[in-house]
């Protein structure tokens, strides 16, 4: 089996460099043949694209998409500086 660290690095690089994603902020952890994706993105479409690119970069492994949707709240209290 391929060393997990190299698989994680390859997935992370694919997410950054693939024009479908260009995502730099996704954390990729590999344990055995399980790949875990974590982070935040603003919409569901991007979450699915990330999963698709990760699957292509890690064929044969199980990808767990634990990416959260980024919630943007109404502006809150102001800060006085």
């Amino acid at each position: 089996m391929e060393t997990p660290q190299y698989v994680a690095a390859r997935v992370q690089r694919a997410l950054a460099e693939d024009d479908r994603t260009n995502e730099l902020g996704i954390r990729v952890d590999v344990r055995g043949d399980q790949v875990y994706l974590r982070g935040q993105v603003p919409c569901d479409e991007r979450r699915h694209l990330i999963e698709a690119v990760a699957r292509e970069a890690a064929p044969g492994l199980t990808v767990h998409n634990e990416i959260r949707l980024l919630e943007v709240h109404e502006p809150g209290e102001e800060e006085h500086l």
Binding site: Q40, V72, P75
Partner: protein, 243 residues
Amino acid sequence: MNALRVAAVADIHLGEDLRGHYRKTLAGIEERADVLLVGGDLTRHGTFEEGRLVADELGGLPIPVVAVLGNHDYHSDADQEIIAVLRDAGITVLDDDAVTIPLNGVRLGVAGGKGFGGGFAGKCASEFGEPETKAFVRHTKEIAERWRLALKGLDADTKVVLSHYSPVKDTLLGEPPEIYPFLGSYLLAEAADAEGADLIVHGHAHSGTEKGITPGGIRVRNVALPVIEHAYVVYCLDGEGVH
């Protein structure tokens, strides 16, 4: 002197899949703030089409908008076209220069640009060795020097530095320390500390923290959307004067 209400956000990473969404969150911003600063990574892939979408989303607001680009906005080599389309939409885009905006009798000066990496004092790259390393470090040095000159030349009551990359480590807390050199450079803080400013706003570190301070005592705020989790934050500058 009147207080200035500065709204700020960064890393909105707009794309066709988000059209209309961010704009909606800006409704009523003129009630809360006098100016909106946008700290780069406006797009995801840095294409001209995405730039035009950003112009649609940020253009025509009832308050002035000042923006800089981020690394994502450079990815497709369309940075100058993106700057042009944003300016056509009435957005002020800083590219290592400065602007003065009169707001309720106060002259707000904003200086800055994209910024760049290199790391932080004691743990940073130096202009030594291979040409690739030298070019990387020189890029940041040149930017910092242009910012220093831009700040020096500002005739304003309140000065803010707008950047994409971080000037300090404080606001990177939460990011893996191994990537700090790619998230910012102390040279940016040094330039601001040399000339004085009331606030530095940046983005880029999506997993960082909001609040920090430069060695010279200038407040730093990381306003990356995933950090602030609000459409924008508002900082009231009470105009006690530049440090």
